[in-house]
């Protein structure tokens, strides 16, 4: 009953906001909205086939908050719960009540989620490398590849964007012995473009926290990270482009002990993660045809307490896109076919010698707009895995954009998808505990969305509501079997919920403001047959808050930017339904000022010096994201950036 009331309230809020926005239309100078087709105006990406309400963070926001962890970043820009095993420690993201391994991370169209564990540790993804981060929740994310039962996070660079030579040097210091330095360069002309990014971070991470009423200083939580990314593109003729990407990162970290073990050296541990990625790319782009070929080698190596867990993933990917002109449809239909093949060679101390796996997939993506007010999408993917049969994945969606009056564009949409996830390598091959009889997880995802965009002079508002239902069959969990734990397919888990977001942009005097509010209410319910989760029937899954809220206000003045962001994580339980963890609200403030220095010799050569400051946890909230993992109170960092 409470859930229904809440959903009703949110629907009313959405309607009210929409009506409120509409009521202004007659008294403003009007800007007529049009439904426009943007496909083909940007570099081809699988996301072109997505109708999901994604959470997109552009380079501007990333620039402002580049010194934050990607965990803080996701918490502030999405309504989804981010779990941090301590400050700067292992971080996972759960979308729509699914597990962390149900969300795949895609970097420039290549899945970089770890093949062994399955779940991505976002704390070892350097935000500094990326210019754009998008979160695509829902089953339609199968367009990015398998395993996207919860959704996908895409990380991309803008190396393809034409730019004059630009260099950035920066350095920063912060609380708890934090030191950072970075260098970025964008060099290019019409034929060749190159982006390089280097970073180095170090932190003692010796913040204070309160445990049982006593203040303690965090021990064994320091980290030292560095990495380099290089992306190069060369147009070898009018239609063909060759490119190559190299990624190397190294993260050496103590593992922050639980609060109660802070003074017990016998519980101190450390971990080292190293990742090397090399990608060779070829693109052919001629009129209605677009071909993308890639070869990639990804080597992830993790050393935990001296034990090695590593994989080599050699892959070849090919996508052919065609825009069909000459039809009677409103816009030319778009189709893309493709496939990929992976040879995976693990180096894991607990696997049997000679373990290897082949994986591959073929897919078809399509989008048709028969009329101005209807978009249809259909995607299908078939995966192949050594000694396994993976069911077919598909998604079918429709959208009906409607212009109401001269100010409001209202889009209704829906999507039905079936998605699959192959068991991880650990699930299948971990010593005596692996289970080669596991079946792939499958999920049926149904979602409806309503998105209203309104424009009144320079005031823009977007209100989006999404209702979703996600039925997962054969969910894989590790369960005790005698003296060992073993992965098994449990029966069924149902997640359902509502997401609601409001984003506003408006000017005041000579400043521009953006106010974004995102709210997520999700209820993840255990269904029949999942006997081990029986006590959770009627309760929310552990560590998943029913309610989360993220809000960001950004103000841009002539040379200055200020950002105030807050996020609320609601009450949730540990694995014990009687053990309730408090909700908490965090507020962060960031400001930067651009000092533009013109060259005396040539006016067009300018230098920009940008000092910036951040205050995190402004309200000095004492909180725990994961039980008994200390998190820092109010802390500051100062940075200076030199663009030339």
């Amino acid at each position: 009953m409470q859930n229904r009331l809440l959903i009703l309230l949110i629907a009313l809020l959405g309607s009210f906001s929409l009506l409120h926005a509409q009521s202004e239309k007659d008294s403003t100078q009007e800007t007529e909205l049009e439904i426009v087709d943007v496909i083909g105006q940007k570099k081809a990406r699988p996301s072109d086939f997505s109708g999901a309400s994604s959470f997109s963070v552009s380079d501007t926001s990333i620039e402002m908050q580049r010194h934050k962890s990607i965990a803080d970043f996701l918490a502030q820009h999405t309504p989804y719960p981010v779990r941090q095993n301590g400050n700067g420690m292992m971080t996972t993201l759960s979308l729509r009540g699914t597990s962390a391994s149900h969300t795949q991370v895609i970097w420039n169209e290549i899945n970089i989620s770890p093949l062994t564990m399955g779940q991505t540790d976002y704390s070892i993804l350097p935000i500094y490398f990326f210019d754009k981060i998008d979160v695509y929740p829902g089953g339609e994310s199968a367009i990015f590849g398998g395993g996207t039962i919860g959704g996908a996070v895409t990380l991309s660079s803008d190396a393809d964007k034409p730019t004059p030579a630009k260099f950035t040097l920066e350095t920063g210091i912060g609380s708890f012995g934090k030191k950072s330095a970075g260098f970025k360069s964008h060099i290019g002309n019409k034929k060749v473009r190159n982006k390089t990014a280097l970073f180095i971070n170090q932190c003692d991470n010796d913040f204070t926290f309160t445990y049982r009423g006593e203040e303690m200083r965090q021990k064994n939580a320091s980290y030292f990270n560095y990495g380099i990314l290089n992306e190069t593109d060369a147009h070898i003729n009018r239609w063909n482009t060759l490119g190559g990407d190299v990624w190397f990162t190294k993260y050496d970290r103590d593992i922050q002990p639980m609060m109660q073990n802070n003074d017990d050296p016998s519980k101190y541990e450390d971990i080292s993660d190293q990742s090397a990625k090399v990608v060779l790319r070829h693109e052919f782009d001629k009129k209605a045809w677009h071909l993308r070929n890639k070869m990639a080698w990804i080597n992830d190596r993790e050393k935990y307490q001296g034990d090695l867990i590593a994989t080599h993933d050699f892959s070849v990917l090919s996508n052919l896109r065609h825009k069909i002109y000459g039809t009677r449809f409103h816009t030319p239909p778009l189709i893309e076919i493709g496939g990929d093949i992976h040879y995976i060679h693990p180096e894991v101390y607990a696997y049997k010698e000679g373990t290897e796996e082949w994986r591959g997939s073929i897919f078809l993506l399509s989008q048709i707009r028969p009329t101005k007010r209807l978009t249809l999408r259909g995607n299908v993917r078939k995966e192949f895995v050594t000694d396994m049969t993976i069911p077919l994945s598909f998604s079918f969606g429709a959208e009906t954009p409607t212009v109401i009056g001269k100010h409001v564009r209202w889009t209704l949409g829906g999507n039905l998808a079936r998605n699959t996830k192959t068991p991880t390598l650990n699930d299948r091959y971990w010593g005596e505990m692996g289970n080669k009889d596991l079946e792939a997880e499958t999920a049926f995802n149904l979602e409806f969305k309503s998105e209203a965009k309104a424009t009144f002079q320079r005031y823009n508002i977007v209100i989006a509501t999404t209702l979703y239902r996600n039925d997962v069959d054969n969910w894989i969990m590790w369960m005790p079997r005698g003296i060992i734990w073993k992965p098994i397919n449990v029966d069924k888990v149902l997640a359902r919920g509502v997401e609601w977001g409001v984003s506003q942009e408006f000017p005041i005097a000579k400043t521009s403001h953006t106010l974004k509010c995102l709210f997520n209410h999700s209820f993840t319910e255990i269904q029949k047959g999942f006997a081990n989760m029986r006590p959770f029937i009627g309760h929310q899954m552990p560590l998943l808050p029913r309610n989360t809220f993220a809000g960001t206000w950004t103000a841009r003045f002539k040379h200055a930017d200020i950002s105030l962001s807050g996020h609320y994580t609601g009450e949730r339980t540990s694995s014990d339904i009687f053990d309730i963890l408090e909700g908490y609200f965090l507020l962060d403030l960031a400001a930067e000022y651009n000092i533009v220095i013109h060259s005396k010799r040539e006016r067009k050569h300018t230098h920009t010096l940008t000092p910036s400051a951040q205050i995190n946890n402004l309200l000095d909230k004492d909180y725990q994201n994961i039980p008994f993992r200390g998190m820092p109170g109010r802390n500051v960092s100062f940075n200076i950036k030199w663009d030339f």
Binding site: H20, P535, S574, D576
Partner: protein, 361 residues
């Protein structure tokens, strides 16, 4: 101008509405929590819920004379979570002694109100305990990769560690017999003088099986469990009476599907030894059970079969058997109570995570 008014109104409305939603949600949850924590002091069973190691959410549940269950008793009384997993526990002279891991500690509570009296730290991975000569003796295995361990002697009056002895194996179960401390350590059972901590006797077990836990029969004889796994990881093991006069074991009996931890209990008149069984440890449908071994007839009998049993105990007053389906430690346990014949008395009550030790006063 009008736009800015609209923006202000809208912004305030959104923020107020969101706060209202969250506020209402919190109020409901608080109500649920309070209801589950109604305190009771007349309890018939104290359930120690081991908790999940990664979350350290061990807890205490109690059952009162009317059968009402109170969960999270420790947190409710002490205002803080225990922040450990509970490996084992015992009751001694009005004190409930919790032997905890991650955080490694021994937490001593007043059994009447569950308030913490004192905490002993400094023992790495404490396992099990017994009272001898007025002191608490606790086994400890600091590193599972090394064949070594300790027995610590704790002065309960001074609330501090008195001394310890290092052993050349991994000690587990511990019991007091005729004033001496009896410890299972690897394939041997060692008898320790509680005053000097000298090892006075060593009893060899049957082959390579590990000596785990102990129980006394109606003649005050000590029986030990010896368990292990075969090459296919199938549970194997049995029980044997310890003969301290000959430094040997008597009447070793291999039991069917005897489970790994080797915990033992007895019926109220101590003529039967009860133990846990596991069948199909490698299948998704692992089955567990509670069986009994009749000392006189030397016969085995299955009393209960079910899913997910871990720990168990017998109420010495009426012979009721208490166990739980621990649901794989991924969530709360389902408490299961049977009478002595194996007839279900309660099967749908929810207690903490990993309910495994059932203590009776």
């Amino acid at each position: 101008m009008r736009n800015s008014k609209l923006i202000k109104q809208f912004g305030l409305f959104v923020i107020a509405s969101l706060f209202a939603i969250n506020f209402n949600s919190c109020k409901d949850d608080e109500k649920d929590n309070t209801e589950s924590n109604s305190s009771s002091t007349n309890y018939t069973c104290i359930i120690l819920n081991q908790g999940n190691y990664s979350e350290a959410n061990g807890s205490i549940s109690t059952i009162d004379e009317k059968g009402n269950i109170t969960n999270q008793m420790y947190k409710y009384v002490n205002a803080y979570s225990l922040a450990s997993i509970i490996e084992s526990g015992l009751i001694d002279r009005g004190k409930l002694i919790l032997i905890c891991n991650n955080e490694d500690k021994i937490e001593v509570l007043n059994i009447n109100d569950f308030k913490t009296l004192f905490t002993i730290k400094g023992i790495v991975t404490p396992r099990y305990g017994t009272i001898a000569d007025g002191s608490l003796f606790v086994t400890s295995v600091p590193d599972w990769n090394k064949q070594e361990g300790y027995v610590y002697k704790i002065n309960m009056s001074a609330a501090k560690i008195d001394t310890f002895i290092k052993l050349d194996g991994q000690p587990e179960g511990i019991i007091t017999q005729n004033g001496k401390v009896v410890v299972g350590e690897g394939s041997k059972v060692k008898v320790i003088n509680p005053t000097t901590l000298a090892i006075e006797k060593v009893v060899k077990g049957p082959g390579a099986l590990s000596a785990k836990h102990f129980i006394k029969d109606n003649n005050n004889n000590v029986w030990a469990s010896f368990v292990g796994y075969d090459a296919s990881y199938n549970a194997t093991g049995g029980i044997s009476q310890l003969n301290f006069s000959k430094d040997s074991i008597d009447n070793y009996t291999q039991l069917s599907n005897f489970a790994g931890e080797g915990h033992l209990s007895t019926n109220p008149d101590k003529t039967e030894i009860l133990y846990r069984t596991i069948v199909g440890a490698y299948t998704p449908n692992e089955k567990s059970g509670i069986s009994s071994y009749n000392i006189a007839s030397k016969s085995e009998k299955e009393i209960i079969s079910g899913d997910g049993f871990y720990g168990f105990n017998v109420d010495p007053k009426n012979g009721d058997i208490y166990t739980a389906n621990i649901n794989g430690w991924i969530t709360n346990s389902t408490l299961l109570i049977y009478d002595a014949q194996g007839n279900a008395k309660s099967t749908d009550q929810t207690v903490g995570v990993g309910a495994c030790r059932f203590l009776f006063q």
